[in-house]
C-alpha cells in the first residue's frame, strides 16, 4: 500500500547535490551520504526546531478512539509540538485537526492540580463544590473505607464504576477483575449504549460478530455510506482522510454515495449526497436489496443462486425456497417472500423522501460495482428501529459479497499480550464468591438491568443507571466512580442525572473540571495523556493485530495519578486477598511489562519484541489479517498467502459466528427473543428475526427533527475548552467561536425567524437557546445543532459558551434490541427567543 516517496529519493538527491557541488570537499563518498548527514556536516547545530535538546517521545493521541501514533516534541521540559508518527500504521505521519491541539489539553489552565475533597454538601449547577486539596493517601484511604464498609454490609453491588474511553489493559482492562474480586456486577459498565452499540449488535445478529468492522477501503471501488461522518468523525478519522486522498485519485476512482440527514463535508465531497428523512435508512437499504435481487446484481458466489441459474426474483412475486441454493446466507427465500419482494424503490421513496429514480440508480451502481462496501454506524441506528436499520444495511454487504473479501470488511484481531503476574481467580474471598453466585443467578442484577427481561440483548445500558439509581429500581447505588465519562453532560436527558448524583458519593477521575466533577465528592485526577504510560490496542482498523503505547513526554505537571494506578492503589487497600492481588500487580508499569512479554515470541513487523522497544516505537503490529473470502470460498493465511481453504465449520467458528454459521437474513437470536420483540416493538412473533422495515418512533414533541452531529473538532467533549478548536469549529454554518443552529430559510421564515436571531428550542423534557443561521442546503424538516457546546462547567472557555446543550432536549429512549440511546430521534419545536 505504501508508495515510494516521489520527491527526493536518495539517488536524485545525490545527483542534484553532486551537480551543485554541495559535497565538494566533504571527504565523504557519495554512496554513503544521507541528506541529514549532509546537513549535519554543513551545520552541526542546525535543527528545524528548537535545539539539540529537543526530544521526540512516541505517544498515542487521546482525542478520539482512533489511536493515532504521535511524535511529541519537547524542549527544556516544555511540549511545543505534536505531529503524526511517520511509521505508525494509522497516522502515517499525519494528523486530523484535533491532534495538534493536544498541547492545550496538557497546559489547560483549568486542570485539577491534585486530589480534592468536597466540603459543600449541596450539589447543583451553580453551586461551588468547595473543593479542598487532600493528599493521595488520604483520598485513597477515604475511598477504601467506604468500599470496605459496603463489603461488610453485604452491599458491595452498590459500588459502580462507569467508564467512557477505555484504552486498554492498563486502565479499563483492570476494572473487570476489580468487580470480580470486590463483588459488584457494576464494575465496570461501559458507555457503549450511548455510543454505537446499534452497529455492533446489528452485526452480531446477522453475522455473529458483536464488533465494529475493519475495512479494506484501499481496494474497494464503491462506498455506500449511511450516515457515517467519514470526513468528520468516523474513526479512524485521520486514516479515513488518508484513504480518501488515495481512493479518490486511484484508477478507477472509488465512487462514494453518502446518505445522511444533513449536508456535511462528507456529503459535499461524495459523488452523491442523498438527504434522507431521519430514521428511514433501513427502507432505503431494503429497496437497494430489492433492486439488486430483481436485476440479478447480487453476488452469487457468496449469497447463492437459483438452481437453474435463472433469476426468479420479480417484484411482488414469491419464489419457491427449493429453487434457491444458498451459499453463505441463510433464509434468502423467506426474506424475499416475506419482506423484500415488496420493498420497491417506489415504496422506499415514500418513506425516505428520496426520489424513486435516485434509489434505482444508486442500487444499480452499488450492485454492479465490486468490491463495494455498505458503511454505517451510529446515524441510522440511534433510533427506535436502529437494529433493523443496521441489519438491512449490513445485508447489502452480504448481497455484494463484501464480507471478509478484498476491498470489503471484516473484523479485528487482538494483540498477543502476555499474562499478568497473578490470576484473579486465586484471590477471591468468600464475599467475592458469594457475590459471583448471586450475580450469576440473577439475584443481584446489574443496576442498568442488562441481561434482564428489561434489556435482554444489550451490551450496556449506561443511560439507565442514573434514572434507575434515583428510582431505587433495582436498587440505589451508594458510591459511583467515573473514568473518562461525564454522564451529567452526555446522557440523554442529563437533568435526571443531576438528581441521581446528588444522592450518591461521586468520585471523578477526570483531569478536567467537567459537569460530573462538579457533582463529585472526591476528585482523583488522572494525568493528561501526554503525561501517561498506558496501552491502547487498536479499534477495528485493517484487521491485523496492533497495540499502541503512550509514553510520558514530560513529568506530570501536577499532583495527578494515572487512573490504572488509582484503581490498583484502591485495590491494595481492600481488606483480604483482594488487597494482596493488587499488591502483587503493584502498578500499571508492571502490568504493561507483563503484557509486553507476549511480544517476545511474536515480534512485530517493526521489530518490537519487548517493553522497551514497544515504548521506543510506540506501536506493536503484525500484518496481515489472517482470513479472506475469495469468490465464495474462505481461506486462511499460511504465512505467505491465503492458501488454506476453510471448512464450513471453521468459518462458523472463526468468522461467521451465528448459530447457523451463515449470514442470517432471519436472525436466530432475535427469533429466540420473539416474545420480547413482540411486546416492545409490536412485531408479530414469527417475523421477529426477519431483517425488515420498522417505522421509527420519534421522541420529544414538535414538528422538526433535531439533528445533533459530532464535528471534526469534537475531542470527545474535551474540545469545548480548547480555544483553537472553538475558533475553527462548524465549517458549514461558518461557525467561528460559536455553534450555530442551522435552519432552512423557508422553515425559519414560517416561524418568523430571521438569519442570526436568537431562538428557543423546546422538546417535552426541556428547552435551550441558540443562534439561528440560514442554511438553504439543509432539509426543511430538520434543525441541526452539533453536540459540542452548552457546557455549564469543563473550564473557562467551555462554560456558558454558545448555544444550549442538545442533550437537554433528548428524551431517554433506547432501541429495545440494541439498547443504543435514540439520540437522533428527537422532535422539537422552535420559536424566536
Amino acid at each position: 500500500m505504501s508508495e515510494q516517496p516521489f520527491g527526493l529519493n536518495r539517488r536524485r538527491f545525490l545527483q542534484v547535490s553532486g551537480a551543485t557541488g554541495v559535497l565538494a570537499g566533504s571527504g565523504l563518498t557519495l554512496t554513503s551520504l544521507k541528506p541529514r548527514e549532509a546537513l549535519a556536516k554543513q551545520n552541526p547545530d542546525a535543527r528545524p526546531w528548537g535545539s539539540k535538546d529537543t526530544k521526540i517521545t512516541k505517544s498515542i493521541c487521546h482525542q478520539c478512539p482512533a489511536r493515532c501514533g504521535i511524535d511529541v516534541y519537547t524542549t527544556n521540559g516544555r511540549v511545543h509540538g505534536i505531529y503524526g508518527t511517520i511509521d505508525h500504521p494509522i497516522s502515517n505521519g499525519r494528523l486530523c485537526p484535533k491532534g495538534h491541539l493536544g498541547t492545550y489539553l496538557l497546559y489547560d489552565p483549568d486542570r485539577f492540580k491534585g486530589p480534592m475533597r468536597r466540603t459543600n454538601p449541596e450539589k447543583g449547577r451553580d453551586v461551588d463544590p468547595g473543593f479542598v486539596p487532600i493528599s493521595w493517601d488520604e483520598a485513597l484511604d477515604l475511598v477504601a473505607e467506604r468500599l470496605n464498609n459496603l463489603r461488610k454490609k453485604n452491599e458491595s453491588h452498590r459500588f459502580a464504576v462507569l467508564y467512557g474511553r477505555g484504552w486498554g489493559a492498563s486502565d479499563a482492562g483492570l476494572q473487570g477483575t476489580f468487580g470480580q474480586l470486590y463483588g459488584s456486577p457494576n464494575i465496570a459498565i461501559g458507555h457503549s449504549s450511548i455510543c454505537s452499540d446499534g452497529s455492533m449488535i446489528a452485526k452480531e445478529l446477522t453475522d455473529g460478530n458483536q464488533s465494529y468492522n475493519a475495512y479494506d477501503y484501499d481496494h474497494t471501488n464503491y462506498i455506500l455510506n449511511f450516515g457515517a461522518g467519514f470526513l468528520e468523525a468516523f474513526r479512524p478519522y485521520n486514516n479515513n482522510m488518508q484513504v480518501w486522498g488515495r481512493i479518490r485519485t486511484k484508477s478507477p476512482k472509488t465512487r462514494v454515495t453518502t446518505v445522511d440527514v444533513r449536508m456535511s463535508t462528507t456529503m459535499a465531497a461524495s459523488d452523491r449526497a442523498l438527504m434522507i428523512k431521519p430514521g428511514t435508512d433501513g427502507a432505503f437499504a431494503l429497496a437497494i436489496a430489492h433492486v439488486m435481487l430483481t436485476e440479478g446484481l447480487w453476488n452469487r458466489e457468496f449469497a447463492g443462486d437459483f438452481r437453474d441459474g435463472r433469476n426468479q426474483f420479480r417484484a411482488g412475486e414469491t419464489i419457491s425456497p427449493d429453487n434457491f441454493e444458498e451459499r453463505w446466507v441463510k433464509d434468502m427465500a423467506r426474506w424475499w417472500n416475506e419482506e423484500v419482494k415488496d420493498r420497491t424503490p417506489a415504496w422506499a421513496a415514500e418513506i425516505t423522501t428520496l426520489p424513486e429514480q435516485t434509489i434505482l440508480e444508486v442500487a444499480r451502481e452499488f450492485g454492479s460495482t465490486r468490491p463495494a462496501i455498505a458503511l454505517f454506524e451510529r446515524g441510522p441506528t440511534a433510533h427506535s428501529n436502529g437494529a433493523y436499520n443496521g441489519m438491512a444495511i449490513h445485508a447489502l454487504n452480504a448481497l455484494t459479497g463484501a464480507l471478509f473479501a478484498e476491498g470489503g470488511l471484516f473484523y479485528q484481531m487482538g494483540p498477543p499480550y502476555g499474562d499478568l503476574p497473578v490470576n484473579a481467580d486465586d484471590y477471591m474471598d468468600d464475599h467475592a464468591r458469594t457475590m459471583q453466585e448471586r450475580i450469576s443467578t440473577g439475584e443481584v442484577p446489574r443496576v442498568d438491568m442488562k441481561g434482564t427481561d428489561k434489556w435482554p440483548m444489550v451490551k450496556n445500558m449506561q443511560q439507565e443507571i442514573g434514572p434507575n439509581s434515583l428510582a431505587a429500581d433495582p436498587y440505589k447505588l451508594d458510591t459511583i466512580m467515573f473514568y473518562l465519562n461525564n454522564p451529567i453532560w452526555t446522557s440523554p436527558n442529563p437533568q435526571v442525572w443531576e438528581d441521581a448524583m446528588r444522592e450518591l458519593f461521586v468520585i471523578d477521575t477526570s483531569p478536567y473540571p467537567g459537569e460530573t466533577a462538579m457533582f463529585a465528592d472526591l476528585v482523583l485526577p488522572d494525568h493528561t495523556y501526554l503525561e501517561r504510560l498506558q496501552d491502547a490496542p487498536t479499534y477495528p482498523f485493517q484487521g491485523f493485530p496492533m497495540t499502541q503505547i503512550r509514553t510520558p513526554a514530560i513529568k506530570p505537571l501536577h499532583d495527578t495519578k494515572v487512573y490504572g494506578d488509582t484503581l490498583i492503589e484502591i485495590g491494595k487497600r481492600i481488606e483480604g486477598p483482594m488487597g494482596d492481588y493488587y499488591k502483587a500487580l503493584d502498578n500499571t508499569e508492571n502490568v504493561l511489562r507483563h503484557l509486553a512479554k507476549g511480544f517476545e515470541n511474536n515480534p512485530g513487523d517493526n521489530g518490537v519484541n519487548s517493553f522497551e522497544s514497544w515504548k521506543e516505537k510506540g506501536v506493536w503490529y503484525r500484518k496481515p489479517y489472517h482470513w479472506r473470502q475469495i469468490r465464495g470460498e474462505f481461506y486462511e493465511w499460511d504465512g505467505e498467502r491465503y492458501s488454506k481453504q476453510m471448512s464450513e465449520a471453521e468459518v462458523a467458528e472463526k468468522l461467521i459466528k451465528t448459530p447457523s454459521g451463515k449470514f442470517e437474513l432471519v436472525s436466530t437470536k432475535l427469533t429466540n427473543h420473539a416474545d420480547y420483540i413482540n411486546r416492545e416493538l409490536g412485531i408479530p412473533r414469527q417475523r421477529a428475526g426477519m431483517i425488515q422495515w420498522l417505522a421509527p418512533v420519534y421522541t420529544g414533541e414538535g414538528n422538526l427533527h433535531l439533528v445533533t452531529p459530532k464535528l471534526a473538532l469534537h475531542a470527545e467533549g474535551r474540545g469545548a475548552n480548547l480555544p483553537q478548536a472553538q475558533a475553527y469549529i462548524q465549517p458549514i454554518a461558518g461557525g467561528r467561536g460559536n455553534i450555530y443552529l442551522e435552519i432552512h430559510p423557508k422553515t425559519a421564515r414560517d416561524h418568523g425567524i430571521r438569519n442570526g436571531d436568537k431562538v428557543r428550542l423546546k422538546s417535552n423534557i426541556g428547552e435551550i437557546t441558540a443562534t439561528a443561521r440560514y442554511s438553504p442546503g439543509q432539509r426543511p424538516d430538520v434543525l441541526i445543532l452539533p453536540m459540542e457546546l452548552g457546557h455549564w462547567a469543563q473550564g473557562r472557555w467551555a462554560k456558558n459558551q454558545g448555544p444550549g446543550h442538545s442533550g437537554e432536549l433528548t428524551e431517554n429512549k433506547s432501541d429495545a434490541i440494541t439498547g443504543l440511546a435514540s439520540y437522533y430521534s428527537a422532535m422539537v419545536s422552535i420559536e424566536r427567543a
Binding site: P5, F6, G7, L8, R12, F13, V16, S17, A19, V22, P35, A38, R47, P48, W49, S51, T54, T75, H80, G81, Y83, I86, D87, N92, G93, R94, L95, P97, K98, G99, H100, L101, L106, Y107, P109, L231, N238, M241, Q242, W244, G245, T249, M263, S264, T265, A268, A269, M275, A712, L713, P723, Q726, A727, Y728, P731, I732, G737, P776, G777, W797
Partner: protein, 252 residues
C-alpha cells in the same frame, strides 16, 4: 537557491482544517488568526445544494503587492522566494493588509475571537515585546523573519514555515513529508495533511514533483489577473471550483 512553492489538490482536500490547527500551533498564533485558513462556501438549495471549501495560505507571490506598498521595507522577499515580515521594522500601519488581494495578513491587536482572551490567560511578562505567552512556544524565534510570538502592534503572516524550510538540505527538489529524512523541514500544513492534498517543492527545478503536478494536472493560481504571481498552485481535478485565469505561456 530553490524557489519554494506549494501545490494544493482540491480534489483530495477534505476541508478538515488540520492545516489550520497545525499552523496555529506551530506558529503560536492566537485562536482565529489563521495564517492558513480554510474558507467554506455554501451554494444552492436542498435537495441540490453544494458545499465547497478552499484552503488558503499566503500565496507567497513573486510580485507581491504587500511588499510594494510597505513604507518601512519591513516586508520583503527572501532569496528563496518567501515573503516575510521583519517585526523590528514593522510599524503596524496595515497598508500591506489592504494591498494583499488574498486577505492573508493579520494584525496582532484585533478583538479576540473568544473570551476569555488567551492573551490574558497566558499573559506575557515581556510587555509589548510579546503579545502573549502560550505555554508551548515554538523554540525558534526570529523577529527579522516574523517567526515566534508576535510583539504588539505588528502584522504577521504565513512564512511557509521558514524556520523549517530554510534549513532543508540543499538541492532537494521536493520536501516530501513521507520521507523520514526530510519530514522535519516540511511546512506544518503540508506535513500533517492527511489526504496528502498538499505538496511542497522547488518551482525552479523542472524535475520537481510540484512542477510535474502543475504541468500534468493544470495547476491554477488564485486571482492571477492581479499580476501578483502566486507560488501556491491549486489543482482542481473533477471537483474544481477555482476559475483559471492563467495564461500558462506568459506566467512565471
Amino acid at each position: 537557491m530553490p524557489k519554494w512553492g506549494m501545490v494544493i489538490d482540491l480534489e483530495k482536500c477534505t476541508g478538515c482544517q488540520a492545516c489550520t490547527t497545525a499552523c496555529s500551533m506551530e506558529n503560536n498564533t492566537v485562536p482565529g488568526e489563521s495564517w492558513q485558513d480554510v474558507l467554506f462556501y455554501q451554494d444552492g438549495e436542498y435537495p441540490s445544494s453544494s458545499f465547497n471549501w478552499l484552503p488558503r495560505p499566503c500565496m507567497q507571490c513573486e510580485n507581491p503587492s504587500c511588499v510594494h506598498v510597505c513604507p518601512t521595507k519591513a516586508t520583503y522577499i527572501t532569496d528563496d522566494g518567501v515573503v516575510l515580515i521583519d517585526w523590528d521594522k514593522c510599524i503596524g500601519c496595515k497598508y500591506c493588509m489592504i494591498a494583499c488581494p488574498y486577505g492573508v495578513r493579520f494584525y496582532t491587536d484585533e478583538k479576540p475571537l473568544l473570551e476569555p482572551d488567551v492573551k490574558n490567560v497566558f499573559a506575557s511578562d515581556r510587555g509589548e515585546a510579546q503579545s502573549w505567552a502560550p505555554p508551548f512556544q515554538n523554540p525558534n524565534e526570529d523577529w527579522s523573519k516574523g517567526i515566534g510570538i508576535q510583539p504588539d502592534g505588528v502584522v504577521s503572516k504565513c512564512t511557509f514555515c521558514y524556520h523549517k524550510i530554510s534549513k532543508a538540505p540543499e538541492g532537494v527538489s521536493d520536501l516530501d513529508p513521507r520521507d523520514p529524512e526530510l519530514v522535519e523541514y516540511v511546512p506544518a500544513c503540508v506535513r500533517t495533511c492527511a489526504p496528502e492534498a498538499r505538496y511542497f517543492g522547488d518551482l525552479d527545478n523542472p524535475d520537481s514533483h510540484v512542477n510535474k503536478l502543475i504541468g500534468d494536472k493544470r495547476g491554477v493560481r488564485l486571482k492571477d489577473e492581479t499580476g501578483n504571481k502566486p507560488k501556491v498552485y491549486y489543482l482542481t481535478g473533477e471537483g474544481g471550483s477555482i476559475p483559471a485565469f492563467t495564461d500558462r505561456t506568459k506566467s512565471s
